[in-house]
Symmetry: C3
Subunit: 129 residues, 3 copies
C-alpha cells in the first residue's frame, strides 16, 4: 500500500535508480510490516537546479546534487521505533549497495487511512469489515 515517490538527479544511472527502488521496497517489507509484492513507486528525474537543498546543510547534515528524496505515502500505524529502523536501513543499504552518501538520503512519511487506497479494479481492497 505504500506509494513511494522517489526524486533524484537526471545524472543518476539506471542502476542506481534500481538500487534505490529495491532498497526502499526491501526496507518496507523487512522492517515496516509492508506485505510482499506491495511495491508501487514513481521515479521522477530532475535537473540539478530543480532539487533544492540548503547549501549550508541542515541539523549538521550536508547535501550534494546526488540527494535522493524518498516520499512514502502509506497507511498510518507504524511506531516511532519502526520508523527509526526504517530510516537507518534505507540509508545504510543505499550506502552499501549503491554508494550513496547516507547524508544524501532524505525521507518523509505521509499517513493515510486504510480506505484511502484502491489497488486497481475500482475496488477498495482494504475496506473495513
Amino acid at each position: 500500500m505504500p506509494l513511494v515517490r522517489i526524486d533524484l538527479a537526471k545524472t543518476s544511472t539506471p542502476e542506481l535508480r534500481k538500487a534505490v527502488s529495491e532498497t526502499v521496497y526491501n526496507a518496507m517489507t523487512e522492517i515496516a510490516n509492508v506485505p510482499q509484492h506491495d511495491k508501487f513507486q514513481i521515479i521522477t528525474l530532475h535537473d540539478s537546479d530543480q532539487m533544492i537543498y540548503p547549501a549550508e546543510g541542515y541539523l549538521g547534515v550536508s547535501y550534494t546534487p546526488n540527494i535522493v528524496f524518498i516520499h512514502v505515502t502509506w497507511v498510518a500505524g507504524r511506531s516511532t521505533d519502526v520508523k527509526k529502523a526504517f530510516y537507518k536501513k534505507i540509508a545504510d543499504d543505499l550506502h552499501a549497495k549503491a554508494g550513496i552518501r547516507k547524508e544524501d538520503v532524505f525521507i518523509v512519511l505521509s499517513d493515510t487511512a486504510r480506505e484511502d487506497w484502491s489497488f486497481g479494479g475500482g475496488l477498495m481492497q482494504y475496506a473495513p469489515k
Copy 2:
C-alpha cells in the same frame, strides 16, 4: 479543492491523458461532492522504468506498463461508501471511455484540512467562519 497528481506512461496519447483528467474530475463532482470547476490536476509522464509495480501483481490484481497512478489530495470528510463509489466510477469510466484496464487504475487519497488551501490571490478561500 482536490489537487490530483496523475502519473502515467510517456507512451500514453494526449487523448488518453485528457480522458483520465476528465474522468477523475467527473467522478469527483458526481460522487464525491466536489464543487463544479474545482479541477486542479498535475500530470507527469514517465519512462517505463520509472513507474514501478509488482510483476507478480498484488492482492490478485495484475498490472501493465499502462498503469495510471491517481493521487488525490483533498479535504477530509468523505465516507467509506463514497470512496468506494469513487474508485469504482473512475475505473469503470476509464475502461469504458479510454480502454484502460481496470486493474491498471491505482488510486490513493490524502486528507487535509479546509484551511490548508489557497486557490490563488494569497487568500484562504475555505477559512473557518
Copy 3:
C-alpha cells in the same frame, strides 16, 4: 522540515523558478516558524496540457498557463492565522518579485508528524524525547 513540491510551466524561466523557490523559503522562515536552512524543494516542469485548471476559474479566481502549484508537506501545528499570512506573503512576494499574477499562485499544505522525517544519515532528527 518542509518538503515543497513546486510544479510550473516548462516555459517559465530559470530566474522565475529561482524566485519561487526563494520566496516560498522566505515566507516559511519569516512567517511559519520554519528554521533557517530548512529548505528542501522539488521543482517539476510541465507542458501546458499537463497542468490542469478550470477554464472558468474557481471561487472568483481565474488562472493562466503560468499557474504555479506549491504543495508543502510539513509538520502539523501552524495556526489558521499563520497559514493565512503565509499564503498572502507568498502571493504578494511572487507578484512583486517575479511578476506572477497573484491568482496564479495555488498553495496546498499537507501535515505530518515530527517522527515522519529523516533529514539524512538514516536518522530521525526530530525524534521525540
